[in-house]
Subunit: 251 residues, 2 copies
C-alpha cells in the first residue's frame, strides 16, 4: 500500500501581461494561471492547480510573481532544473525564473511580508511606440520634484479607503506603505512602492494621484486630506494597467 | 492655368518593429513604409510615397527614423500639427514625433551626417518576458569591462568588410565609427554606436563580436586582426533583430 507524498513548490514567475486577461482563471479569455497550470501539468503528468500570491489584472505585468503548487506525487526533477523544464512548455511571454521547496503548511498569500510594485510613465508629447505596452503615456510635463515631495504623506500605516476601487468588499482598508519613490530617467518616470499589502487598484490610484501632483492640479500636502477623507472621488484617476508591474514579493 | 506646388516634408518617426516585415515596401507582409504612406495619403488626400533614411529589417525598432515625402499640392495643415494629424491615422506602434519642411533638393539618404543605433541585451539566466521583443537574451554572464575595452578598436575609419552580411553588393565597405559605448544597467546591456553609415547587418555583427569578447571567447585586441582580415567568418554571429533600435539620424 502506498503513502501520500506531498511537496510544496514555490515558483517565481515573470510575465508580460499584454496578451492575458490577468492572472486568475476565469471563463472568458486566456489567463496566466491557466497557461502555467497546463505547463506544470504536462511536466508532472497530473492536474496542477496553482495559487498565486497576487491577482494581477489584465494587461498588468510581473517580474516576481510567486505561485504555489502542491505536487501530490513523487517528484523526480531536481528543484534547480524545474524552471528550465517548465519553461520548455511555456510561451515566451511567461518565464519561471526560480523554484524552491516549501513546507506543507506554507500559504503563498497569508505569509507575504511585503510586495513591491512599479508604475511606469512615459512623459513625452507623443507616446513612444516601443514602450506603449509597458508604460502609461502622460503628454503633459510632470514635475517630479513635486511628486517626490508628495510621497512622504503616503508612507506609513493609513486607512487607504480613498485609494481603493469602489465596489470592492474588503474587511479593512488599512495598509502600511514601507517605501515609495519617484525616479525620472530621461522621459521615463518610475513610481516604486512597497507595502504589506495593497487594496484593489490602490497602486494605480496612487499613481494617478501623484500625476495630479505632477501637473500641479493638487499640492503635495493635499495628500493628507485625501487620505483622511476616505473618499475615492478625491484621489486621482485609476491609471491604465499596462504601466503596472509586480516587481517582488517577500516572505 | 495652375502652377506646380511642391513641398518637401521631413518626418521623424518612432516605431515598434515587432509586427512588421521591416521598413521597406515589399510584396509579402505589412511594412512600416506602407502603413505610413497610407496614413499620409489619407491626410493629404493623394498618393504619398515616402523615402526612408534607413531600411530597418523585420523586428528592428526605431525611435528616430527619418522619412521624406514630397507633397505635390498645396498644404493647408500647419507644419507643427502634421505629426498629430497623421498619428490619428496610424496604429499605436507607429508614431510621428516631429515634422519639418525641407528644400526641394533635399535627399534623406545622401545628406545623412551620422546615424546612431542601439543594440540591447538582456543578460539574465532566463529571458525577461517584458523585454523579449526589445532585447536579445544572452544567458552567459557578459564581462562588460572587457567589452568596453574592445570598443576602441572599432572607432575611426576602417574597412568593415568582416562586419557585413555576406552576399551584399556595395561599392565600398569603408565606414567611419564616431562613437561606440557599452553600458550596463542591472541586467540590461546597451551597446550604442554612431557612424557615418553602416553596412548591412553591421551593427548586429559588431554586437555579436562584442558578445564574444564578453564571454571571453576572444580577447579585446583580437578585434584588430578581425577588421584587417576582412573575413566575415572571423567576426561574431549576427545578433537577432529585436535587440536593435535606430535611435537618431543627424543631417
Amino acid at each position: 500500500m502506498g503513502y501520500l507524498v506531498e511537496m510544496g513548490l514555490l515558483l517565481t514567475v515573470s510575465y508580460d501581461g499584454t496578451n492575458y486577461c490577468g492572472w486568475q482563471d476565469q471563463r472568458n479569455g486566456k489567463t496566466v494561471q491557466e497557461v502555467l497550470n497546463n505547463a506544470a501539468g504536462k511536466v508532472f503528468n497530473c492536474k496542477m492547480t496553482s495559487l498565486g500570491a497576487s491577482r494581477t489584472d489584465a494587461g498588468v505585468h510581473a517580474l516576481g510573481q510567486r505561485i504555489h503548487f502542491i505536487l501530490s506525487k513523487p517528484n523526480v526533477i531536481p528543484i534547480g532544473k524545474i524552471p528550465l523544464v517548465i519553461n520548455g512548455y511555456l510561451p515566451d511571454d511567461i518565464r519561471i525564473i526560480a523554484a524552491t521547496e516549501v513546507s506543507d503548511n506554507f500559504h503563498p498569500i497569508n505569509e507575504v511580508k511585503s510586495k513591491t510594485y512599479r508604475y511606469t510613465i512615459c512623459n513625452t508629447r507623443f507616446a513612444n511606440p516601443i514602450l506603449r505596452n509597458y508604460t502609461a503615456h502622460v503628454g503633459r510635463p510632470l514635475d517630479t520634484v513635486k511628486m517626490t515631495d508628495a510621497v512622504r504623506y503616503f508612507i506609513g500605516e493609513h486607512d487607504f479607503a480613498a485609494f481603493c476601487a469602489t465596489g470592492t468588499s474588503v474587511t479593512s482598508t488599512v495598509r502600511t506603505i514601507y517605501q515609495l519613490e519617484v525616479a525620472r530617467q530621461g522621459d521615463v518616470i518610475e513610481i516604486t512602492i512597497s507595502g504589506n499589502g495593497f487594496l484593489y487598484n490602490m497602486v494605480r490610484i496612487i499613481a494617478g494621484t501623484l500625476v495630479n501632483v505632477g501637473i500641479s492640479k493638487i499640492r503635495p500636502d493635499d495628500i493628507v486630506g485625501i487620505i483622511v477623507s476616505r473618499e475615492r472621488i478625491r484621489a486621482g484617476k485609476t491609471m491604465p494597467p499596462q504601466g503596472l508591474a509586480l516587481l517582488e514579493i517577500v516572505y
